[in-house]
């Protein structure tokens, strides 16, 4: 049994123009201690997936079906009080917008201290020291002063780091991090990613890292799940995915990112590979492959039949009619 098992997850929103199938039949596992990255363009359903794992997706307007099992227990049936206990104890969370998870009426120190006291049976004074230590770890200047401030007194970047300190302080079994470093500078991002790696090696936390930055994926994760239009289109180890991406969407993403060093030495400027067009409107019914309209390899069949997610090589899944399959693959 994996730590987290998501099965046939459906997240739908009723909108004026129809039902938005934000997530449409998503299944994946996260093993204890594992770092899984989820990538894909904005709107492909990454955040709503993470919110549903945390029990934070508002329903309505959302409608969730399928299963989300944490340590074998289906969280979709769990009571609100059980979810509240899980969050911040066994499941930590970091969002791009820190105010989503910070409590405005408690000081930063109280919020970090709370989870430290819960887990380590620390005294009030010890918890405060630990909170200061955590704030220093995440790079907040003058932590002795900041520990007694409220979230609104901190700048955006500092709130982000305070939230990370809170999430890390409870040594969670699973950390759900939704674009945790997107709003940060690269030098701070490097520090935060190091912190998260530390947490993994010291506490054995599993991490579900949602990001659109393929560089962050390559440096941080072990396995990657590529989402497009609410579906999983490819899944593989990080090494396999970057070496032999099998889905045209993944191939397109990898070619579209400018890479340090890649345009040096060229006489004329190099053109980036574009993925033409944009993601489809999910409130309209999709026929065939969701990527067909943008895909350079699409044939007639792609517009008609939705390609199944298949094993194309050991541990490497892709949903494309034309993704190459290794001979030995099941």
């Amino acid at each position: 049994m994996a730590l987290l098992e998501v099965r046939d997850l459906q997240i739908h929103f009723r909108t004026a123009t129809g039902v938005n199938r934000a997530v449409d039949g998503l299944s994946f596992d996260i093993e204890a201690g594992e770092a899984l990255a989820v990538v894909g363009e904005s709107g492909c359903g990454k955040s709503v997936t993470s919110m549903s794992i945390l029990g934070l997706l508002p329903t309505p307007p959302g409608k969730i079906a399928g299963q989300i099992r944490f340590r074998g227990q289906n969280l979709l049936n769990a009571s609100e009080s059980r979810m509240r206990k899980l969050r911040g104890a066994e499941i930590g969370m970091i969002f791009q917008e820190p105010m989503t998870s910070l409590n405005p009426v408690f000081t930063i120190g109280q919020q970090i201290g709370e989870s430290v006291r819960l887990h380590e049976k620390a005294s009030r004074a010890e918890a405060r020291d630990r909170a200061i230590e955590m704030l220093r770890l995440v790079g907040i200047p003058s932590p002795e002063r900041r520990v007694d401030e409220y979230p609104h007194q901190l700048s955006g970047g500092m709130r982000q780091r305070a939230m990370i300190a809170i999430a890390l302080a409870c040594n969670p079994a699973l950390l759900v991090a939704d674009e945790p470093t997107t709003a940060l500078d690269v030098t701070i991002q490097a520090q935060i990613l190091d912190l998260m790696q530390d947490l993994r090696s010291k506490v054995g936390s599993a991490v579900m890292l949602i990001t659109h930055d393929l560089g962050v994926v390559a440096e941080f994760a072990e396995r990657v799940l590529v989402m497009y239009a609410g579906r999983k289109v490819e899944e593989a180890t990080v090494r396999d995915l970057f070496r032999t991406p099998r889905h045209p969407y993944t191939q397109g993403l990898l070619k579209a990112v400018p890479r340090l060093g890649s345009s040096l030495g060229a006489e004329t400027s190099v053109r980036l590979a574009e993925i033409p067009g944009r993601v489809p409107d999910l409130s309209k019914p999709l026929r065939g492959c969701a990527f067909a309209d943008r895909c350079p390899r699409a044939q007639e069949v792609c517009h008609r039949i939705d390609p199944a997610l298949e094993t194309k090589a050991a541990g490497h899944l892709a949903a494309c009619h034309f993704a190459p399959r290794e001979v030995s693959a099941a």
């Binding site: 363009e41 690269v186 962050v216 390559a218 090494r239 400018p258 890649s262 574009e274």
Partner: protein, 327 residues
């Protein structure tokens, strides 16, 4: 020298923001947003400004576009001083120098059609007199940025982020400027769309001979786009060099640290990272000497005592580090 002046020359630009203290406060605190910044941009060239947030990139852009007044310094356009011009004197200058911002939504009036939005600069600079002329010109501009002519009848909210950025670019091109300042213009876009907009900017630049001041915190994008790069830290230029030279042989410890912090989209890349510790100091009370010294792995007593001058390390590669030779 008898060289013709560069398209843009910025000399010793200083921008301070007074802060804190209401009407009766005695505090005279100031934010040192930009301190003694000098650079030039040649016609058709792309100069990028990079550095961590708060280092003064946007402030330089806004001073250059005269959206905010400068505290000290000189700015010339084709040799003509523009830093002291009045509103009405600025009008012909504005025609030649436009800005595209990060957030294409807030920079487009949601109640105007795309046609009105793109026609506005044409009208204000008297570039197309009749309605029909303007209509035709707007259509051409939309096509130039990769949108359909028919898009002009629609409202901004009917477009995706990437398409809205195309509308902003069409608007910036309308007055046929010599230079466009792009302030994080591709930063909010998904990679696939970002690639479209970067290619568009580079194509337009080639076709129209545009100069760009490209402001970004993304070093990979900057490497891709730029002819030359200025690296800023806490309001000062730490290093300025052409692309090859800066990325192959950074001569400032800050540039080196920035480059090594960029995550590479290659899990098999083998690199030792010099992770910078700590945070950027407050621009209200910057450190003595070299602004970078509080985070610099090479700092010595000299760095606290003396402000390092921006020195030419050869072939126009300038570094503001006492130990640039050893970096």
């Amino acid at each position: 020298m008898t060289d013709a002046p560069h398209l843009i020359e910025v000399r010793n630009l200083v921008k301070r923001f007074p802060i804190g203290g209401g009407l009766f406060s005695r505090s005279h605190k100031v934010v040192h947003a930009v301190s003694d910044v000098s650079f030039h941009i040649a016609r058709g060239e792309t100069l990028s400004l990079v550095g961590e947030s708060g280092c003064g990139k946007s402030t330089v852009g806004k001073c250059l576009a005269r959206l905010i007044p400068l505290t000290e310094g000189e700015i010339t356009l084709d040799g003509q001083r523009i830093d002291g011009l009045s509103r009405s004197q600025m009008k012909p200058v504005r025609k030649r120098l436009n800005v595209v911002f990060q957030d294409p939504f807030s920079s487009l009036n949601p109640r105007m059609t795309v046609e009105d939005l793109v026609a506005e600069p044409l009208r204000s600079h008297g570039m197309a007199r009749t309605r029909a002329e303007r209509h035709a010109r707007v259509g051409d501009l939309l096509e130039k940025v990769g949108l359909a002519r028919e898009a002009m009848a629609r409202m901004p909210h009917q477009f995706s982020g990437g398409q809205r950025q195309r509308i902003c670019i069409a608007r910036a091109l309308a007055s046929e400027p010599d230079i466009i300042i792009c302030d994080e213009a591709v930063s909010a876009l998904d990679v696939s769309v970002q690639a479209q907009i970067i290619n568009l900017l580079m194509d337009l630049q080639k076709d129209l001979g545009l100069a760009l001041l490209f402001i970004s915190h993304d070093l990979a994008v900057v490497e891709h786009m730029s002819d030359r790069i200025a690296v800023m830290y806490l309001g000062r230029i730490m290093e300025i060099a052409d692309r090859e030279s800066l990325f192959r042989h950074p001569r400032h410890p800050y540039t080196r640290a920035l480059l090594s912090a960029v995550p590479l989209p290659d899990p098999e890349a083998d690199r030792d990272r010099a992770v910078l510790t700590g945070d950027v100091p407050s621009p209200i009370d910057p450190p003595s000497g070299c602004f970078f010294r509080t985070r610099c792995p090479m700092a010595t007593d000299r760095c606290a005592a003396e402000v390092p001058a921006l020195r030419d390390m050869g072939a126009g590669h300038m570094s503001a580090c006492h130990y640039a030779e050893d970096v």
